[in-house]
């Protein structure tokens, strides 16, 4: 008899995934803290990867009744190289890796328990408890896919779609229904015939009845087994598959006062926003607008890397954003998000214009507009002007200040914190 060899390699993969997600669920508090620490350490650039995180080992040990340190115990070790019976030795026993006598019992469990989260698990925890504000138009969607679904039966169609069961069931029903009068009359005649044969054989009616029975049988036989009328076709219809979509406007000041480190901060913020939107919408477009004294729409590469000099007129970017929305992103079909990053420099008399532009032409069209100011100096006039918008448009407009890289995540969380409706 040869042995049975079973190849299980194709079998249920990820058998432990339930246990794994339960583990993560259970220690969510600790893991979230570790994730926040991890964010502070690394760039948003590699947010797309998983993350190796550690949580305190003592939190996750499973307790048992065990002996603690102390008392009296005798332990046998191998490799005696110098001891004789009766020797006294200092503790711990020199050189023994884990130490002797109970040290190994509490040696474990103090180190951090380190493991790697997958990208999805990481982002789940990362964006946990955040919500998109103003989901009014979230349901709006563009339709670019259709799905075919079954939708009952029809009486016309192509032969490949004939539904045999339905058709045969209908045919059987029809045969019974159409044949019913004949069957009733047949039963009557047969009873009559039997009575006549018993009571008065030789009655001429017998022959008449026999003839009628024969003709009835013939007519019943003539009912078609299947009729075009019986045919049923499986029906399939197209259903539109709406997919939610959003456009994200990234506005950034690239004037001389925005140095590389400030741009990096802005970039990280935008990336975070992009990742977040990506989890909420199936289809996302990003529009990059950079400005100094004039604004232009650029691609991502130019947006972050080219450098301009000169003054700053913020309103130019806002005007351009408005134009683009009107031209390309009808606000009835798109969820629109705007994020503006700047160091707060602006021509003094331009700032009131900006406020007006935002409140009059942009805020009515967008879901959310966030302004982040990357500066550690005193707020300047742009900030002061924008502050007035906070009161008039609560919930749609938000602004925060970022001083250093470490602030990005907390500020982001603050902007998108779940709010009670």
């Amino acid at each position: 008899m040869t042995v049975r060899i079973v190849d299980r390699r194709q079998d249920s993969k990820n058998k432990s995934s339930i246990n794994r997600s339960r583990f993560i669920q259970r220690f969510k508090g600790q893991i979230r803290k570790a994730v926040a620490d991890a964010i502070a350490r690394r760039g948003i650039r590699d947010l797309d990867n998983g993350e190796k995180i550690g949580i305190p080992g003592k939190d996750i040990t499973e307790p048992h009744f065990r002996h603690g340190k102390g008392g009296k115990r005798e332990i046998v070790h191998p490799g005696n190289d110098r001891f004789n019976s009766g020797d006294s030795v200092d503790r711990p026993l020199e050189g023994s890796g884990q130490g002797s006598g109970g040290a190994s019992e509490d040696g474990e469990g103090i180190d951090d328990f380190v493991f790697t989260l997958t990208r999805d698990e990481f982002l789940d925890i990362f964006f946990d408890e955040l919500a998109l504000p103003n989901l009014v138009k979230r349901q709006l969607a563009r339709i670019d896919e259709y799905k075919r679904v079954r939708a009952g039966y029809t009486q016309s169609g192509v032969p490949t779609n004939i539904n045999l069961v339905r058709t045969m069931r209908g045919a059987a029903g029809r045969r019974i229904a159409v044949g019913a009068p004949f069957a009733a009359r047949l039963r009557e005649l047969k009873d009559e015939l039997e009575r006549l044969r018993r009571d008065c054989p030789g009655d001429p009616d017998i022959i008449r009845i026999e003839r009628e029975i024969a003709s009835l049988l013939a007519r019943r036989e003539a009912i078609p087994f299947i009729d075009p009328f019986d045919l049923r076709y499986s029906n399939r219809i197209r259903i539109a598959q709406p997919s939610t979509q959003a456009v994200m406007f990234c506005l950034m000041d690239v004037s001389g006062s925005m140095d590389e480190s400030k741009k990096q901060i802005a970039k990280r913020f935008f990336m975070l926003l992009y990742l977040f939107l990506n989890r909420n919408y199936e289809h996302i477009e990003v529009v990059f607008i950079r400005h100094h004294t004039v604004a232009e729409e650029v691609d991502e590469e130019n947006f972050f890397h080219s450098r301009e000099t000169g003054g700053t007129i913020v309103s130019s970017a806002l005007t351009l954003m408005h134009e683009i929305i009107v031209a390309r992103y009808a606000s009835s079909a798109w969820n629109i998000y705007g994020a503006q990053a700047s160091d707060g420099d602006n021509w003094n008399n331009d700032s009131p214009t900006c406020r007006e532009l935002i409140s009059e032409s942009i805020l009515p069209l967008v879901q959310y507009f966030a302004y982040i100011e990357i500066a550690d100096a005193e707020p300047q006039n742009l900030w002061l002007e924008y502050e007035r918008l906070l009161e008039s448009h609560p919930g749609i407009f938000a602004m925060q200040r970022i001083a250093a890289v470490a602030d990005i995540y907390p500020v982001f969380r603050e902007l998108f914190r779940k709010r009670l409706a």
Partner: protein, 508 residues
């Protein structure tokens, strides 16, 4: 007469199903010639990831879900990915047919080693050792695990995932004190279990309700009961006691406790026979493969790879090495079995003096007797020879808290052999490794509190986790739980108390 050259079984290091079949046939032939009695076996080829799954579930192909298994999985995965550990080749399931796992990354040599080690070595041990015979039902375990997983999943649906998790946590915390050490467990089977489970549920509930009857009793009866302790005899199986007697548990909770208790019981023999079992498997893979080599069926390359991995497994670092973490059960077990064979085949005078009953006897018979009738503790006490103690250079250190220094109690010399052997055997005594804690009393007429008594051994105190375990127990019991220690001097000392009063709260 020159040795006949026979063609090697297979060449190269990549495995194929045919090559594995041929190896299995050859190893099986040799094993049979040595008279190894095994269950039928089945080889399963799996990926590294599946191997880690198996690790997390203590090697079982089906298991209920719990976060702690997720933790084990992550731990293993992490260490494996960092290259700190190779995945071992010893995972084998004590079932009939016995299932041995072959990992796809292994070379052909490793596959042959695993087959010899697991499918013949461990397998025959499972079939022959009295503890496994008595405690485990190889033909029914998989069925029972399926039943367990389905039942627990159902409970999660019905009673909520959090409630089940808390219950399972509590059971796991008590699992090392949830085994019967002396009685035999009844046979398990899926059909019977499912069928009887409902009956048991109703019956148990009725029992318990009777125990906590609140109807007024006759005063005479009360007076008589004042004298009586409940339970009448202390109970050392805490989970069993809770399952049968905890007043507020729902039937499904009792069933889950029972399931975890049963599974713990199933693994208990493995804890009791680690040295013997691993040593036995190592001895047999070593012997079987060497026999094949002597027959000329294995190439030298095969043997080099085989020996390298074999020596890695049975290496014992000395106490002052940085790799030292206690005695390696593979090393000790392998050396002991080899030594027993030597004593049978080439006994010295010393051996004849120490082991008159089997020195010079037929080694296969002696092996069978030793394998069938012992556990680690008694195996070491019975078979550890002076020669082996010298080879391992064993010495016993007495660590007494009362003394400022450690004392070397005995070493591998004429005066010390017996003491070292006794100390080592004691080390494998699970009875003294786990603290001795028993259910002592339930305050039936008062607050229904449960009192556990810890019988202190060698003045050893309980570890720092004790309070957390008591919380778990209090959760199960539903009322206050106390723990007291009986010192060797006879004093009773309260250790911990966990107050709980679940009566007025809805049971979560």
């Amino acid at each position: 007469m020159s040795k006949k050259r026979i063609r090697p079984i297979a060449e190269g290091s990549e495995w194929t199903v045919e090559a594995i079949e041929r190896y299995d046939a050859e190893i099986g032939r040799v094993a049979k010639a040595y008279g190894l009695d095994c269950y039928r076996h089945q080889l399963e080829i799996i990926t590294a990831e599946q191997m880690m799954d198996a690790y997390a579930a203590i090697g079982m192909p089906v298991y209920y879900h719990h976060w702690s298994f997720g933790k084990h999985f992550l731990e293993t995965e992490n260490r494996y990915k960092r290259g700190q550990m190779g995945l071992a080749y010893e995972i084998v399931i004590n079932s009939d047919p016995c299932i041995a796992y072959l990992m796809e990354e292994n070379t052909l040599t490793m596959q042959a080693l695993v087959i010899a080690h697991a499918a013949y070595g461990h397998n025959s041990f499972f079939k022959g050792n009295h503890l496994f015979k008595q405690w485990t039902s190889a033909d029914a375990i998989i069925d029972y695990l399926v039943f367990a997983r389905n039942y627990i999943a159902q409970c999660e649906e019905r009673h909520g995932f959090a409630a089940v998790e808390q219950l399972v946590d509590a059971c796991h915390a008590l699992s090392n004190l949830g085994v019967d050490r002396y009685k035999r467990s009844p046979h398990l089977s899926l059909d019977k279990e499912t069928l009887r489970q409902k009956e048991r549920e109703d019956y148990l509930q009725a029992q318990v309700n009777d125990l906590w009857r609140t109807l007024p009793r006759h005063t005479a009866a009360v007076a008589e009961e004042e004298e009586r302790r409940f339970p009448a005899e202390p109970e050392e199986n805490l989970l069993y006691f809770v399952e049968k007697n905890a007043p507020l548990l729902e039937p499904w909770q009792r069933e889950i406790i029972r399931i975890i208790r049963k599974i713990g019981q199933y693994f208990y023999p493995q804890r009791q026979t680690q040295v013997m079992n691993e040593g036995w498997a190592c001895f047999w893979h070593y012997t079987l493969i060497n026999t094949l080599y002597d027959e000329g069926k294995l190439t030298d390359g095969f043997m080099m790879e085989f020996l390298q991995s074999h020596t890695n497994v049975v290496y014992q670092p000395p106490y002052n090495s940085k790799w030292y973490s206690g005695i390696n059960p593979y090393a000790l077990g392998f050396a002991m079995w080899r030594d027993i064979r030597r004593i049978c085949e080439e006994p010295t005078d010393e051996d004849r003096e120490w082991f008159p009953e089997f020195a010079g006897s037929d080694w296969r018979e002696t092996f069978n007797f030793a394998m069938s009738n012992f556990k680690d503790e008694s195996f070491v006490a019975q078979y550890l020879s002076p020669r082996l103690m010298r080879e391992f250079r064993l010495f016993a250190i007495l660590d007494d808290e009362a003394n400022p220094k450690l004392r070397v109690d005995a070493i591998h010399d004429d005066m010390g052999y017996r003491a070292v052997r006794r100390a080592l055997a004691e080390q494998y005594n699970l009875g003294s490794a786990d603290p001795d804690i028993q259910v002592w009393n339930v305050d039936l007429r008062g607050d229904r509190s449960l009192t556990l008594r810890h019988f202190s051994h060698q003045r050893r105190p309980l570890g720092p986790e004790t309070d957390r375990v008591l919380e778990h127990l209090a959760h199960l019991w539903g009322f206050t739980v106390r723990l007291e220690t009986l010192m060797p001097s006879g004093d009773l000392r309260p250790v911990a108390e966990c107050r709980s009063e679940k009566r007025n709260r809805p049971i979560s």
